[in-house]
Symmetry: C2
């Protein structure tokens, strides 16, 4: 008996019914605030429920309602502050529709992503939001008639809320080009191959500026800070170094700046570094980072709003979200300074 105190017995609707001397169905309706039950009874039941410590059983409820009132969010990396605002947007919008949200962090592992979606499926969530999904599109397409599923930033998805990644990256490139840089490096992130809008923007901007694309200037960030060390070394080893680098995100840019400094290169005097995401700390590192801010809050909101329309059986139009904004701070400057030193 001491063994498992919490399994004793949860108060159910039946218990309340017995205590109030009514039928369970009356209790349900009373708790729902239905007009069909007399005010006096309703109040009696409400207070009884409170005092007996009644906790509704979602399992039973979900079973008969055939929906859980939950929406699932699959986040690739909850550490990345980039997603914090996104989460806020989701939650605020979900609250409006009486939905509760559940988050699973996949750490960018595709298997975990599938596991997460599977769990949500079993939980009969009302919808799933998958920002920056790693898994192949075919997988998600197969799910489309099992559950409403909206992607964030995946061009080819059936249901999606997109932010113009290419536009944001072009802004960075234009900024660097306007500063006079001609030799610009690019740091790729751990994206699925063939789905690299930043890379696309990078090349397009170079093309338009009439600059030849040099594969030597492409580096890869694998999500760890160690890999930024490597990138620094690769940069150093180059015969002709880039005068500016566009980093996959702020974490990689920060790591890179730090690593470059260890090798006695200063930013932006010797080399400019721009990031992407505008995380909380990016204004705080030294030098403060030039970067791109995304309307993450709106993206979160729109995802849920989209999901909700889907649930209502509406056929929502792809929502309009604001464009990314360039934030110029101090980690980028003209290339001339570099030649001076």
């Amino acid at each position: 008996m001491e063994k498992a105190r919490w399994q004793t017995h949860r108060v159910t609707i039946k218990d309340i019914a017995r205590a109030a001397n009514v039928d369970p169905s009356t209790v349900t309706r009373a708790l729902q605030g239905s007009e069909r039950v007399k005010t006096a009874t309703r109040e009696k039941i409400a207070s009884l429920a409170a005092e007996m410590g009644y906790v509704p059983d979602m399992a039973a409820r979900t079973l008969v309602n055939r929906r859980s009132g939950l929406i699932g969010v699959v986040i690739p990396d909850m550490t990345n502050p980039f997603f914090a605002e996104f989460g806020r947007g989701i939650e605020d919008e979900a609250a409006k529709h009486d939905l509760r949200i559940l988050i699973i962090d996949t750490r960018g592992v595709e298997a975990a992503e599938r596991e997460a979606v599977k769990l949500f499926l079993e939980l009969k969530v009302d919808g799933v939001v998958v920002p920056m999904a790693r898994g192949p599109q075919e997988y998600y397409d197969g799910l489309n008639d099992a559950i409403p599923l909206v992607h964030v930033n995946r061009e080819e998805a059936k249901h999606r809320v997109n932010c113009d990644t290419v536009h944001g990256s072009i802004l960075v490139m234009q900024h660097l080009l306007e500063l006079g840089h001609r030799r610009i490096g690019f740091v790729r992130g751990p994206a699925p191959p063939g789905r690299e809008p930043k890379m696309f923007a990078y090349r397009q901007a170079l093309d338009e500026a009439g600059i030849h694309y040099d594969p030597e200037l492409i580096f890869t960030f694998d999500g760890t800070l160690e890999s930024t060390e490597l990138i620094a070394e690769q940069v150093l080893a180059l015969d002709e170094r880039p005068t500016a680098i566009f980093g996959h995100n702020d974490v990689s840019a920060a790591g890179l700046i730090h690593a470059l400094r260890d090798h006695k290169l200063s930013v932006p005097q010797d080399i400019s570094v721009a990031g992407h995401d505008d995380i909380q700390l990016s204004g705080c590192i030294d030098p403060p980072l030039t970067t791109v801010a995304w309307p993450m809050y709106e993206l979160g909101q729109q995802s849920v709003r989209y999901l909700y329309s889907l649930g209502q059986g509406k056929k929502p139009r792809a929502p309009k979200v604001p464009l990314p904004r360039l934030i110029v701070r101090e980690s980028t400057g003209g290339p001339k300074a570099a030649r001076k030193s």
Copy 2:
């Protein structure tokens, strides 16, 4: 009909039973891999289930099993990388026991914390982990016989996994004292009043060093970077400035360093700043931050292990976890330099 494609009809065990021409109970047992059903039947059912796209209904399952196989985690701030490792520990350990985990981020809002716990209760999760809870202990005590609930770092909780916060903070203070600092500031965090082990350690270290406690040197970080600006101004306004500051966490320390620099104070020459948490970027900011690292992974593991023992009806001993470690980097130095400038 186009209206809500995903609500058409989920494949149930009954459907499989019909297709395989057996009873639903046989399907259940087959899917469980029970020896009680003939191998041939078992295989037929398995392949049938796969091909029909059967997804178990957790609601129904939870209803009869009276447990969900889920464990809930209530995180105060998923942005804080501090919790990333914690999450990994939780997940790895949960996987060992065939438990799935659900995370809710409360953003430090107490109401959200309660909402989260309530949702978990309704979901009939097998256990809840609440690291660094904000809510009052009485609230959680009331839940103790409804569900296994383990706290991380809450001295007074019935079930807890603790890391010696005081020890870690003492390490920082000793480090600063050994460097020769006598006038040391302290930045409080958004903790519930009366539960401030870091503050406790701060005062104790001062006492032991025979240094008088000066309330002027206590500042408050509210979680936003803006408040670090304020702190910097307060420091500047002081007649007699501290030569070192022990910050509530790395984010506040990073913000403070940045703000101090804006006011032409350099770190550590003019003032030393130490943080707490050892987040990913703390080695990356300039100067790299002296801080305290916690064994977050182990804390996560132990939480689940503890929960699991509780679920087994065992009476687990409070688990031993490693002590926090001081990480000395470059944001702290001797106070002499300060007088030079």
